[in-house]
């Protein structure tokens, strides 16, 4: 099938990408706002356009466990989840990454109960950044589609061999319709060769996987970390190769936007980037030297890229749609641990917003830039600020 343009939601774009990536085994359990992905994939299996084994499992724990079993015999696998489901399968995340199985999972970012809420923030995925999974965050449906395809190539690269979680903001991206370029199957097949690995159980060469280790445990994980450090180069390489073939690339670990001569820069994750872009353009028109940097990956963490940007600016803001209660936003903590290596790091503000799907509007982003410009001008600012809240917060 040749490429074409289609009008789809983020969830549907993911399903289309999964069809193009041809996983052998798909196992999934429904949860809003991921459900459309598993429904569409079921349709593809039913109509024969995707020849995968589709397992209707009884929980997210089993969804990832079945993917683990399939990956253990060398199958390419896919699953998708969100929120409570991601936490329900949490036991499996280090299990899979420790076994070095390149499972690709879509996560529809949704907040965590309680209180129960359906809308999007990043508390679910960010609670799992230490699980050994690569984490990428998408801005729009096209990037989501492209990243599912790229994810398989990155994850299965023998230099990396790590599972990947592709994150889409729930509803904001999963349920928003956009025109999307759908690549042709032959092109995708040429970009993404079949998965071959020696890291599997094999009838011709029997092996044990997921064993126990006492003395070697530390070395296994040191090796995992050393390989993960190679991932940024592989991510950049795959991004370029994708660009060469399909004409779209995303800048690897971080996509800076109008950062060249910026005085202040705002760091974003996911769809809020789109809002921030518009604000940056408007404020540039007005003569303010503002820019933004879209963090595409949270693991591996784009330390180098952040250092380069931080070294050039007078103030830096980090939007966190999450909070590590008792401290600060999780992205902020990670950014801080990178920039503290600079001789004189720029002052920083953590903007915590969007929890439980609370809107972050252009006006709010403009307000953030206003605060950052004041900070750059030497004014003292509160280090952690809650955005768009309905109650007083006692600083």
């Amino acid at each position: 099938m040749p490429g074409c343009r289609i009008f789809v939601s983020g969830d549907e774009a993911v399903a289309e990408a999964v069809r193009l990536a041809r996983p052998h085994v798909i196992s999934a359990y429904p949860i809003t706002p991921q459900t459309v992905v598993v429904e569409r994939i079921s349709d593809f299996v039913e109509d024969g356009s995707l020849k995968s084994e589709y397992l209707h499992v009884e929980s997210e724990h089993s969804a990832m466990s079945a993917a683990l079993g399939a990956a253990a015999v060398g199958a390419r696998t896919f699953t998708a989840t969100s929120s409570q489901g991601l936490l329900y399968m949490a036991e499996l995340l280090p299990y899979v990454s420790g076994a070095r199985f390149p499972i690709v999972m879509m996560n529809a970012n949704r907040t965590l109960a309680t209180p129960w809420a359906l809308l999007s923030d990043h508390r679910d995925s960010l609670s799992q950044i230490d699980s050994g999974w690569i984490q990428v965050y998408c801005e729009d449906a096209q990037e989501a589609l492209d990243m599912i395809i790229q994810a398989y190539r990155i994850a299965e690269d023998p230099r990396v061999m790590a599972p990947i979680m592709v994150n889409l903001d729930g509803f904001l991206l999963t349920h928003t319709y956009e025109m999307v370029e759908l690549p042709g199957q032959e092109e995708v097949d040429a970009f993404l060769p079949p998965y071959r690995t020696g890291n599997k159980m094999d009838l011709d060469d029997p092996k044990t996987v997921c064993y126990a280790a006492m003395d070697e445990y530390m070395e296994f994980h040191m090796k995992q970390e050393l390989d993960m450090r190679k991932a940024p180069a592989v991510i950049a390489e795959v991004d370029r190769a994708f660009g060469d073939r399909f004409g779209r690339s995303y800048g690897g670990m971080v996509e800076p936007y109008r950062c060249e001569d910026a005085e202040v820069v705002l760091l974003t994750l996911g769809t809020v980037t789109g809002t921030a872009r518009v604000v940056v353009d408007a404020m540039r028109e007005e003569g303010h030297r503002v820019g933004l940097a879209k963090l595409r990956f949270m693991r591996p963490f784009p330390r180098q890229e952040i250092l380069e940007i931080a070294g050039r600016v007078k103030a830096m803001g980090v939007i966190d749609k999450d909070i590590s209660v008792g401290y600060e936003g999780i992205v902020f903590t990670n950014v801080n641990s990178s920039v503290c290596d600079l001789a004189s790091p720029p002052p920083r503000i953590n903007f915590i917003g969007g929890l439980g799907g609370r809107n972050i509007s252009k006006g709010h982003v403009r307000g953030m830039f206003g605060q950052l410009l004041k900070l750059a001008g030497g004014e003292g600012m509160e280090r952690i600020q809650f955005i768009n809240v309905g109650c007083e917060h006692n600083g």
Binding site: S27, H61, G69, P206, C210, M214, E216
Partner: protein, 296 residues
């Protein structure tokens, strides 16, 4: 597929493990593997059997094998089977060996899902009647009156209070293609059942009573005898569920003494006459139901 002592292969597929002397579970696994043969994928969750046979680099399985997460045996087996199917493998078996806790408690959801999907996997529960790997704690299959480290027998509590979930009937209630109970006291019967399970086209389940010298508290040379006596005194029943019917495999002419069986084990030493009578009465009730409803 040889399932009797005379024809069983001399090749070992599980050896060099670190199980205690007098371990019924490891005997069940070792012999089941001889029936299933070299083209077998094994998944074992966290339990005694994985703890004693998967310590890198001294791996005790010669076939393909993996440790599955404790709650996930059924799902991991499904995944292996789906992967093997999708990749076009031919002539292989997929088997899981989970303990009683890994089956009846934390793993019951994944097991239920696998049977519901009808994936072609063999699920073996080796039942040593407690969480042994973590130090003899009570599971949903610990029988009434049993002393464990979490059901201590003292003045107020006479050991475990549960009745031992009936996993065989729970599994059968799914409409599974084949399920059976077995005991390492009757090995040929067990092996025959493993052979039958291997020939199934969908999910099969074997529940094998596997006495544990360490956890039950009996001399290590009496393991097989203990497995026999559990059947002979009627507390454990050998049966099959096939073609949607329950079939009783062994009906002792006369039960041996329940009290004698219990008193040989440290875990039941504290039981008083009245508790032994209660256990015996429950046995009789169960048998009454079996004789009325099951094919003999």
């Amino acid at each position: 597929m040889a399932t009797n002592a005379r024809e069983l292969t001399n090749t070992e597929f599980l050896y060099g493990h670190r199980a205690c002397a007098g371990c019924g579970g490891s005997l069940a696994l070792r012999l089941a593997m001889k029936v299933l043969g070299p083209r077998t994928f094994v998944a074992i969750p966290a339990n005694c059997m994985s703890a004693v046979s998967f310590l890198y680099p001294q791996i005790s399985f010669t076939t393909n094998a993996m440790i599955s997460p404790f709650p996930a045996t059924g799902a991991v087996l499904s995944g292996i089977e789906a992967g093997a199917r999708a990749l076009g493998f031919k002539d292989y078996s997929v088997v899981g060996f989970a303990g009683d806790g890994g089956t009846a408690d934390i793993g019951i959801q994944a097991l239920s899902g696998a049977i519901d999907r009808g994936d072609r996997v063999i699920y073996v529960c080796y039942d040593n009647e407690a969480y042994m790997n973590t130090g003899i704690q009570k599971s949903g299959l610990t029988p009434f009156g049993s002393r464990t480290t979490t059901s201590p027998a003292g003045r107020n509590i006479p050991g475990a209070a549960g009745r031992k979930k009936d996993m065989f009937e729970i599994v059968a209630a799914h409409g599974i293609e084949y399920a059976a109970t077995a005991s390492i006291g009757y090995l040929e019967d067990f092996l025959k059942k493993i052979g039958k399970a291997a020939r199934c086209r969908t999910t099969s389940y074997i529940h094998v009573l596997s006495p544990c010298a360490t956890g039950w508290g009996f001399p290590v040379e009496q393991t097989v005898e203990m497995g026999k006596e559990a059947v002979d005194c009627g507390l454990w029943v050998l049966a099959e569920y096939e073609d949607e019917e329950f079939v009783l495999n062994r009906k002792p002419k006369e039960f041996s003494c329940v009290g004698d069986y219990l008193k040989k084990q440290a875990r039941f030493k504290h039981l008083k006459e009245k508790e032994v009578e209660f256990i015996t009465a429950n046995r009789d009730k169960k048998w009454e139901k079996i004789l009325k409803n099951w094919k003999a």
